[in-house]
């Protein structure tokens, strides 16, 4: 990291230092290299060459239009759309919107001011006026987002701003205004879309407030620090165990594109696996007609037989997000296999294959439906791997055969119960392969009530902490 940091500034200085207005560029160079360093800290692979390109690009488009600066940097520094959210947040820190109106500081947190601000906000939301919303976000954070008093402890909070301003409660007001403004004919079909549209506008305003709060904190604490810490990473890098609801929703939207990529990768592997093996017997037989010289090697024909897959998932609270994501992913890949069966457990096992097939239409409610419709808990609600594995080996042993690959998903935390290693051994003996994906990092395996090492002795256990790792693992481990 430090070497890359060192290389960045040198390269950019050489490139962007060439234009005439040298006075302005030195600041710009520092901005670009700072931005690049912050992006690298978020795991973006940006080389010196790209930093130079970014400088050249800014020289070409100039600094007059902020959105153009943003697009120019995005075009030169990014390699994929997944990086865009992080980039936008970091960009807002390094190239902030013009200085906020300082009068905002003078706002007093009185009820009248709040009411007045809400009024103006409703108006701006009605008009959908982006510039006005930006201004209002700045005022709101200035007026209601400040906390603390000392230079060490004070800061700006978007949460505090939003919970005082409560923009979501403006829905009805904005709706009425929009209705009044509409040409008063009979109700249009698009009327019914109105609420959702307003909700999207309000959400966009909330995001503006968050950006503004981050910017102010950055002014106070130093940009580099905030850029590293306050900007959320890309969705596929979020730890399954730490992901919030919004992040899981975002992950869920990536299931289908990811499945498509994996299917392409599997098809490529299958194609590669289908050629190359020489059938010695038939090659020698064929060589008789050419005097024993094997002129035409005969390749072994592969039977087009697709493997079977069994997924055994812990869906208890702590690892539910991970399990659901994987279930949806496997369901989206189902045409790659001759058969996919999915079992869920907490401390009892039940088959949920049908639930998931139907659940593809409404992935958000999948978790609740599994818990509601499948019989997963016995006397208590805690996960118990030993009992669940035992029950699986007993009731569903016929699901596992020599062509089956079994994936077990869970953190192997048995809440102190017996791990029942013999049940897992039985499954491993019957199956072609058993892989265990553990959403915890390996350093935590075996700590507390985790029996991961014991299970890892019997089957291959791999850490799988975020969607990126899962995609890579599935692409590699799935049988072809």
């Amino acid at each position: 990291m430090s070497r890359a940091d060192g290389a960045g500034p040198v390269g950019t200085a050489g490139a962007a230092g060439s234009p005439a207005d040298a006075a302005g560029t030195s600041g710009a160079v520092a901005r670009i290299t700072g931005l690049v360093a912050a992006l690298r800290a978020h795991g973006f692979g940006i080389g010196t060459g790209e930093t130079v390109d970014a400088g050249l690009a800014l020289e070409a488009v100039g600094f007059a239009d902020r959105e153009r600066v943003r697009e120019a940097l995005a075009a030169t520094l990014l390699h994929g759309e997944g990086q865009r959210t992080v980039f936008d947040q970091v960009f807002d820190l390094y190239f902030p919107l013009g200085a906020a109106p300082e009068s905002a500081e003078a706002y007093e947190n009185t009820a009248t001011d709040l009411a007045a601000l809400r009024d103006r906000l409703a108006e701006a939301l009605t008009a959908g006026d982006g510039a006005a919303l930006d201004r209002l976000a700045a005022e709101a954070v200035g007026g209601f987002g400040g906390y603390g008093s000392g230079p060490e402890s004070d800061g700006w909070s978007s949460y505090q701003t939003l919970s005082r301003l409560r923009p979501e409660t403006l829905l009805a007001r904005v709706r009425d205004r929009l209705r009044a403004a509409a040409t008063a004919e009979d109700p249009e079909f698009t009327e019914r879309l109105l609420d959702d549209e307003i909700r999207r506008r309000i959400e966009a305003f909330r995001e503006r407030v968050r950006t503004e709060a981050r910017r102010r904190v950055a002014e106070r604490q130093g940009r580099d620090r905030v850029a590293r810490r306050a900007v959320a990473g890309t969705a596929d890098g979020v730890d399954f165990l730490l992901a919030g609801r919004a992040q899981l929703d975002e992950l869920r939207r990536t299931v289908r594109p990811l499945a498509r990529k994996l299917a392409t990768r599997l098809a490529a592997r299958r194609r590669r696996a289908a050629r190359g093996e020489i059938d010695l017997r038939r090659t020698l037989r064929g060589s008789l007609s050419t005097g024993g010289v094997p002129v035409r090697p005969v390749l072994r024909r592969r039977r087009p037989r697709r493997p079977e897959l069994v997924l055994l998932c812990d869906v208890s609270g702590s690892v539910a997000g991970f399990a659901q994501f994987t279930m949806l992913l496997v369901q989206a890949l189902h045409d790659q296999f001759s058969r996919v069966r999915v079992f869920a457990f907490v401390n009892r096992v039940d088959e949920v294959t049908g639930l998931i097939a139907r659940g593809a239409a409404d992935p958000a409610g999948l978790g609740d439906r599994i818990l509601a419709e499948a019989e997963l808990t016995g006397w208590h609600g805690q996960s118990d791997y030993g009992t669940a594995l035992g029950e699986f080996a007993e009731r569903y042993a016929e699901a596992v055969g020599p062509r089956t690959v079994v994936f077990v998903l869970g953190d192997a935390r048995t809440n102190g119960a017996d791990p029942n290693l013999s049940a897992l051994r039985l499954i491993a003996d019957r199956a072609r392969r058993v892989h265990w994906l553990n959403p915890e990092q390996p350093s935590l395996w075996g700590t507390g009530d985790s029996v991961a090492p014991a299970y890892a002795d019997l089957v291959e256990m791999r850490p799988c902490r975020n969607a990126r790792q899962l995609g890579a693992l599935i692409g590699r481990l799935l049988p072809v």
């Binding site: 075009a75 019914r192 879309l193 498509r260």
Partner: protein, 289 residues
């Protein structure tokens, strides 16, 4: 270095608009940069947002020649770069019976027997050229290696002839649907542009432009409904091309405003999966489909 097609970002936007391509600020800025920096432009985005159309529009406004390489599974060097005309070489060898081998050899690996394919054609072209490498993600990984030399330095090495360097850089556009991750090495050599679904206002202008004769209020409603559908969690959300199709359908049906019946009957133009239609109908409060 530059291809020298455009003078400013506004110039890009204005000139593309004359061919009926309304560029968002992001598109205009990036196209201008690709032109100014002389780098290839990698365009990603959902199907039907006008990725290929962008290359065609640039071709049209600059009066350049379009060279197109359509990638597919199994496309290889001899389809993408160049090939020797073996049949003609054989004829040449048979025709020159009296010659020594050395004479023949230098002769049959000459210009006359070279069959240039799109990449070589674009590199050698003297006139302004737009090189479109379409659906790059469909090609195999090996082809990407081939593209690295071509796109990095705009040169092609033919062992028998030496290295051919572009005298005039083609304006290069690669498109991808992201069915496979392109390699980092390739991405590094390109400017990256993601074309997403346009903003409401822009899409309204696109619809009005592409479907003349459509009532402005109806166009606005159409775009709003499509926007609502995109916010839903569907298998395949409607793209710009579907919006235009829908607008055309409504025009053909003579509908002058949206109502429940019209939407219900034409939802199939926008959504291509049964389950999506059911879900959208429920969310839009349509009665049974």
């Amino acid at each position: 270095m530059t291809t020298g097609f455009f003078t400013s970002v506004d110039d890009v936007a204005e000139r593309l608009a004359t061919t009926g391509y309304l560029a968002s600020p992001a598109v205009a800025t990036t196209v201008f940069l690709a032109d100014r920096l002389g780098k290839p432009l990698l365009v990603e985005g959902p199907a039907g947002v006008g990725k290929t159309e962008l290359a065609k529009a640039v071709t049209a406004v600059t009066g350049a020649r379009l060279v197109r390489l359509q990638c597919y599974e199994g496309v290889d060097e001899s389809r993408a770069l160049y090939e020797w005309n073996h049949a003609k070489q054989l004829l040449r060898i048979t025709a020159g019976r009296g010659e020594t081998w050395d004479e023949t050899r230098t002769d049959i690996f000459g210009e006359e027997f070279l069959l240039p394919r799109p990449l070589l054609t674009a590199i050698r072209s003297e006139e302004p050229t737009v090189l479109l490498i379409d659906e790059t993600d469909k090609a195999d990984v090996e082809v990407e290696g081939l593209l690295l030399e071509v796109l990095g330095d705009f040169q092609v090495t033919v062992p028998e002839l030496g290295t051919i360097t572009a005298t005039r850089r083609p304006f290069t556009v690669l498109t991808s649907n992201a069915s496979r991750e392109l390699s980092e090495a390739l991405r590094r050599r390109c400017l990256f542009l993601h074309i997403g679904f346009p903003e409401e206002e822009l899409e309204r202008r696109i619809v009005t432009l592409k479907v003349p004769g459509l009532d402005a209020a109806l166009a606005a409603s159409v775009v709003r409904v499509v926007g609502a559908l995109r916010a839903m969690d569907l298998r395949k959300v409607p793209s710009v091309s579907e919006t235009i199709d829908w607008a055309r359908t409504l025009l053909a049906l003579g509908a002058d405003r949206l109502d429940e019946r019209v939407v219900r009957e034409t939802l199939g133009v926008l959504l291509k999966h049964r389950e999506d239609i059911v879900k959208a109908a429920a969310k839009l409060d349509l009665d049974a489909v």
